[in-house]
């Protein structure tokens, strides 16, 4: 019994002597030296890596600053060549961005929904055509954007043209002739636009004085007559005048 108590005390003492070093995972001097040299080498590597990085960053900052200056100079030169101010340039780009985004929205609409925006599309078409004649269109990337925009608007207009039709009734009942059809509120609300219907349906209408009941006529989009339409109308009026002139 005594021996057991004695042995327990001895074990407890051993634990008290060695436990702190075991718990603290205490290292030997050799291990300490090894770790010191290992971490010193690592620190030195990292320091030189950091120095190199700081140098690279400084170079990049200098490059960026120089590029800022070069860009300003290049833009100034470009504006001088175009003879416009920065404000005009910005306004043009902003307008172009606006039309691009609006046309993209409109292109997502169904044909039926698109009809509601006919006037807006026509107005936009006119304005984009004007923009294409602006000096800014000399810049190739702007020109490309304008061309793409014009194509997209043309495709919208094609949808509008395709969508709007008029089925000819009889003269006796509906008094339908190109003049009267053009005068209707849901076509052009303007009788003088009749040549547009004629020119838009040349496959059917050979003589603008003759249209037949049940013909389905396309009503092309537009608020003004094109050069060709005006010219066709003038020839028509001339022929009419000649025919009406008294024979001498």
């Amino acid at each position: 019994m005594k021996t057991k108590i004695f042995l327990t005390i001895v074990l407890a003492l051993m634990f008290l002597i060695d436990a702190p070093s075991v718990l603290a995972q205490e290292m030997t001097k050799e291990q300490w030296q090894q770790e010191m040299s290992q971490f010193t080498a690592k620190r030195n590597d990292l320091k030189s890596k950091l120095d190199k990085l700081n140098g690279d960053i400084k170079n990049l900052q200098d490059q960026s600053k120089k590029l800022d200056g070069d860009l300003v100079a290049c833009n100034d030169e470009l504006l001088t060549l175009l003879g416009i101010t920065q404000a005009e340039y910005d306004a043009f780009i902003s307008e172009l961005n606006g039309y691009e985004s609006r046309v993209n929205e409109l292109m997502r609409l169904s044909d039926e929904e698109l009809l509601k925006y006919r006037d807006e599309i026509l107005k936009m078409n006119g304005r984009v055509n004007e923009m294409a004649k602006h000096k800014m269109a000399l810049i190739p990337r702007i020109n490309d954007r304008l061309k793409k925009l014009q194509d997209n608007i043309a495709s919208l207009m094609k949808t509008l043209d395709k969508s709007k039709t008029y089925t000819v009734g009889t003269w006796a009942k509906d008094r339908d002739c190109l003049w009267n059809i053009a005068k209707k509120k849901d076509t052009y609300n303007n009788a003088w636009m009749w040549p547009k219907i004629w020119q838009g349906n040349k496959d059917k209408i050979k003589n603008p004085d003759i249209i037949k009941p049940k013909w389905v006529l396309k009503i092309p989009a537009g608020t003004e007559l094109t050069k060709e339409e005006k010219s066709a109308a003038n020839s028509y009026y001339k022929k009419k005048a000649e025919a009406a002139a008294p024979v001498q």
Partner: protein, 88 residues
């Protein structure tokens, strides 16, 4: 019985002596030296963090410079095209 006790006592005394010898005679770093090592480790960790941050800054700057180079090239192309178109 007495012999058994003596053997037990002898073993215990020997074990205790050996333990004291092992714990006492192994060379260990001083507290100051351990502090130095800990400081060094902390410095390494801090440097690693700084490097990670500066690498991020560098990557952003590289991107920025590449973009500006692209813009400049574009501007020069525009300028050349306008010059050609206007006959200047």
């Amino acid at each position: 019985m007495i012999l058994k006790n003596r053997i037990g006592t002898a073993i215990a005394v020997l074990t205790l002596s050996a333990s004291l010898f092992i714990a006492g005679c192994t060379s260990k770093p001083s507290a100051e030296e351990l502090r130095q090592l800990n400081d060094l480790k902390a410095e390494v960790t801090s440097l690693e963090k700084q490097i990670a941050e500066q690498e991020r800054v560098k990557a952003n700057l590289e991107k920025e410079v590449a973009e500006k180079n692209g813009q400049l090239k574009q501007c020069q192309t525009d300028k050349d095209a306008v010059k050609k178109a206007t006959g200047q």
